[in-house]
């Protein structure tokens, strides 16, 4: 099938995603990823810590742990869709970062993303595909933050690349 042989133009892909997201917005809400990831964190923490987790008010006041939170299934769907796409196009194979510095950067990057999402209460997806199209003032603050952060991150990355 042609779809799985050639790389799709990202503009075409994003137009299709935007049209689908309009239906999602009308039915349940704009596309977001950070909320679902937070709930997954809560579910995993609950599985490890049990009722001890309730000693942290965050998990009772902000994100009471529940498995039927729709945002979780957006992320699981993305994982499923990506596996289908990768397998069907024969692009699924194990890719392992080779250098220790890559692992360190990824670890730091992951931690900063997790902490950043929770400080902001939004992620990059809800910034670009939710808050800003809704013209929420928070979207403009979040975009300013992510652009400034990406610029600082690029400077750090460049310096590391240049050794």
């Amino acid at each position: 099938m042609e779809f799985f042989r050639k790389t799709l133009d990202p503009t075409v892909a994003l137009v299709a995603i935007a049209v689908l997201e309009i239906f999602l917005f009308l039915l349940i809400g704009a596309w977001t990823v950070g909320g679902g990831e937070t709930m997954m964190t809560g579910l995993m923490a609950k599985a490890i810590l049990g009722d001890e987790l309730e000693r942290l008010p965050f998990w009772t006041l902000v994100f009471p742990v529940q498995v039927d939170y729709w945002k979780i299934y957006v992320s699981l769907g993305m994982l499923f869709g990506a596996i289908v796409g990768a397998v069907a196009s024969k692009e699924f194979y194990l890719r392992i970062p080779r250098r220790l510095s890559e692992w360190v950067l990824i670890t730091l990057g992951g931690l900063l993303m997790g902490i950043g999402i929770r400080i902001a209460f939004v992620c990059n997806v809800s910034t670009f595909f939710g808050l800003t199209p809704e013209m929420n003032l928070g979207g403009y603050l979040a975009i300013s933050g992510i652009v400034a952060g990406a610029w600082v991150g690029s400077l750090i990355y460049k310096r590391i690349l240049e050794g």
């Binding site: 790389t7 995603i17 049209v19 670890t107 997790g114 400080i119 979040a142 400034a148």
Partner: protein, 220 residues
């Protein structure tokens, strides 16, 4: 809509998104990082087009009182949080979407980034439970609260309610701004392309001159 139906709709939406992102290699990190580092705008243009479509659609439905806009207060925590996120996504080489998609392609680095995103979120939950900042959506009042660095709630719908101007009018202004950014990027790309073509033509004429000189020497 029932909770189960919401989860099913979300899973179907996510699956299509995952498939399209995997096939197109779209990445939000690349949309910002490549524009900053490499002056390459393939993903940036796609992001802008999607934002234009969504702005028009969301503000149209918000004018009519339809849809489910995000409802929580605006605060400086959004700048601080996304600033940290922006650094993190460049260092990790993936954003929230591409960590899932690349994991689905068998990328263990992306899975590692995802695991540490979860760990970062858990660490933040410990910190929040100690100082209760920033305010949780449940305790947001919609009004400015400068002590907590909160500015209240404002979107196209609240502008419509306060000013009596349809939300769509504000959406049109935002779409025009996004389009002007898109146009500026296209102009820059065309200028880059013209520069490359000029350089290539100069190289070609230099090569032709060298070949002719060598041929002339041989003939002599």
């Amino acid at each position: 809509m029932s909770t189960v139906a919401e989860c099913v709709v979300a899973f179907i939406f996510g699956s299509v998104v995952g498939l399209l992102v995997q096939r197109s290699r779209f990445c939000n990190t690349a949309a910002l990082r490549d524009a900053i580092m490499f002056k390459s705008y393939r993903n940036t243009k796609a992001l802008l087009v999607a934002m234009m479509i969504l702005t028009m659609a969301f503000t149209t439905f918000m004018t009519l009182g339809a849809g489910h806009p995000l409802e929580f207060d605006v605060g400086f925590n959004q700048f601080i949080g996304l600033f940290l996120f922006g650094i993190g996504m460049v260092l990790a080489g993936a954003c929230t979407v591409s960590t899932w998609v690349k994991t689905g392609e068998g990328n263990l680095g992306a899975l590692w980034a995802l695991i540490f995103t979860f760990i970062g979120m858990f660490l933040f939950s410990v910190l929040w439970s100690w100082n209760y900042w920033p305010p949780a959506p449940a305790s947001m009042t919609g009004d400015p609260n400068l002590a907590a660095l909160q500015l209240g709630f404002a979107n196209a719908r609240t502008l419509q309610d306060k000013l009596g101007i349809p939300a769509l009018a504000f959406g049109l202004v935002q779409t025009a701004v996004l389009y002007s950014i898109y146009r500026a990027i296209r102009r820059r790309e065309l200028a880059q392309q013209a520069r490359h073509e000029r350089t290539a033509a100069e190289h070609r004429s230099d090569n032709a001159r060298d070949t002719a000189t060598i041929a002339a020497r041989k003939a002599a």
